[in-house]
Symmetry: C2
Subunit: 146 residues, 2 copies
Amino acid sequence: MKPMTIGRLSSAAKVKVTTIRYYESIGLMGTPDRSASGQRLYGSVDVERLSFVRHARELGFSMDAIKDLIGLQTEPDQDCSAVDTIAQKQLAEVQKRLAQLEALERELKRMIENCRGGKVGGCQVMAAINDHSECETDKHERLKPL
Amino acid sequence: MKPMTIGRLSSAAKVKVTTIRYYESIGLMGTPDRSASGQRLYGSVDVERLSFVRHARELGFSMDAIKDLIGLQTEPDQDCSAVDTIAQKQLAEVQKRLAQLEALERELKRMIENCRGGKVGGCQVMAAINDHSECETDKHERLKPL
DNA sequence: ATACAGTCTACAGCGACTGTAGGGGCAAGT
DNA sequence: ACTTGCCCCTACAGTCGCTGTAGACTGTAT
């Protein structure tokens, strides 16, 4: 099979061209061969690796975690527990975030429920944001952006 | 009541000193009075405003949305529906994110479930990340970081 | 031959902060 | 009066995971 340019790799792995170059710059993709004129050339191995990265990103793994996973992938005789640990950690984070967002959803619903129209001066949504005395989310650490 | 320094405001509103200065720089907090030696001086109004911002951030509102809310707050005679709209939009985002995270949780659980130990070479977690053919999360847009 | 899409490098920008460097200010204790 | 030690100041760089821009070159189709 003959090599493909970065654009082909991009559409094969569904990762943008600029992102691929970025991944290369942070050492996630290794330095590819180049054509005589300097264009990057990739093979099917790269499609798989890049797809792996994309899917791991979709699962919310950090770049660091992905680097670790790739490192482990290249040593197939090693014990599987390291992989499991990373995945467990990721699940724990997801579940923590879920709990936060559920609390958020409840509070937003409550706020909106209480808003029966009228003027901003008496708006219950504004009041609810102001009054955080009995607020669930205060107990949590600061939330990451949505 | 006499004015307080930025540190007092920080602990009163539970927002870090550096973050307060950042909020000032992006026009969220207005320019405070200064002491003779140039230190920022705040009053209780600022505690309330800053607490409002903090709580809105905890609810996941973007800075832009918060700016809008503050703008509306200063016009108490306006119709409340603008506030309601912002809150509704926020709720919709939270619910979308919740759905994504729930899909993620299912997939991570499935991956970990299938991992019965052994070597990385046969690890089902790695296989699951590689094989995204039947994967739920592929249907979603790319996820924001956790 | 020309047009146009694709590729290259290098660097700036996003959001919402956080951290650092290098200084000046202020109240309490000795 | 002096020192200790925390608080405050500005200005700028760094974080994460990219995205966008500028300006030049390459490859392909008509």
